[in-house]
């Protein structure tokens, strides 16, 4: 518990951060920036886990562990995404998500 700081305040910050990430995800065209927006959203969620653990269930480390796994999975995701970005760049010389619509075929 941080003295003088309520759970609501922390959650407000994480929510705002999450929606900033969503905004970035929707407006950006570059795949790498979209990836960065995704990181923002993930971290907002991680803050939530940690805050809930600290404020509501101080007796168990579950929230911390979830945050840890989240970091691991985020690392995986970024590694794969970067591999895809590089491969894509090699193919079409761009990382613009607008040009990558072959998914519909």
């Amino acid at each position: 518990m941080i003295p003088g700081v309520s759970l609501i305040e922390i959650l407000t910050v994480s929510t705002l951060m999450f929606f900033i990430g969503v905004y970035g995800f929707l407006t950006r065209k570059n795949l790498i920036t979209i990836l960065m927006s995704l990181e923002l959203m993930l971290n907002g969620a991680a803050i939530n886990f940690v805050a809930f653990n600290k404020y509501l269930y101080p007796g168990q480390p579950n929230g911390q562990l979830f945050a840890l796994f989240l970091i691991a999975v985020a690392a995986c995701e970024v590694a794969l995404a970067i591999a895809i970005v590089i491969n894509l760049y090699r193919k079409i010389k761009a990382v613009d998500v607008e040009q990558v619509n072959t998914l519909k075929h």
């Binding site: 951060m17 929606f19 929707l26 065209k29 990181e39 600290k54 840890l68 691991a72």
Partner: protein, 177 residues
């Protein structure tokens, strides 16, 4: 004192997030993200989860951001300036995000959270024991799953990013005669 630090951290997190999302220069965007992640690590330290904060710093700020910066440098020149997104896209995304943020923050204000009182158990011993405990309440299985996931991703990333010289070159040779 902690309260002030928390507010400072919050301000840093939010402002740098916004700048990271709005900046038209890729590399700057990545640096702002680095700032955000570091501030979050500071928040973990503040809240007393030192191990988590350390992991956040080393893996996220130290690993992932470096990886992102690498990919930026590999695919763009440093001065690359992205075009401003068209207004319709900004309007739709902005409206959705503002509406969502307002909605959720408003919901938060009315929420009542009940605390389970217990002695604080946040030292590294507890975390480690729980993480590697195969018994009830332990996280050994997810731990192993994540380790396999990491291995799979490592192989997958190599396969995806690899130049496919061998396949592209050999097939015409086979057809030639």
């Amino acid at each position: 004192m902690e309260k002030i630090i928390f507010y400072i951290l919050s301000a840093v997190i939010l402002s740098l997030s916004l700048m990271s999302v709005l900046s038209r220069k890729l590399l700057r965007s990545a640096v702002y993200l680095f700032g955000v992640l570091t501030a979050i690590a500071g928040f973990y330290f503040l809240i007393g989860y030192h191990f988590l904060g350390a992991v956040q710093l080393t893996v996220y700020a130290g690993g992932i951001v470096v990886l992102i910066i690498f990919s930026i440098l590999l695919t763009h020149d440093i001065d690359h300036q992205m075009p401003t997104p068209d207004w319709s896209r900004v309007a739709v995304a902005g409206a959705l995000c503002v509406a969502g943020a307002v909605m959720f923050v408003q919901l938060l204000q009315g929420s009542l959270f009940s605390r389970v009182e217990a002695p604080e158990q946040s030292d590294l011993n507890t975390v480690g024991n729980t993480l590697l405990n195969p018994g009830g309440g332990g996280y050994l299985l997810p731990f192993e799953v994540v380790s396999i996931l990491l291995l799979a991703v490592m192989i997958g990333a190599i396969v995806i990013a690899k130049q496919r010289h061998s396949v592209d070159d050999s097939s015409p040779e086979k057809q030639a005669p």
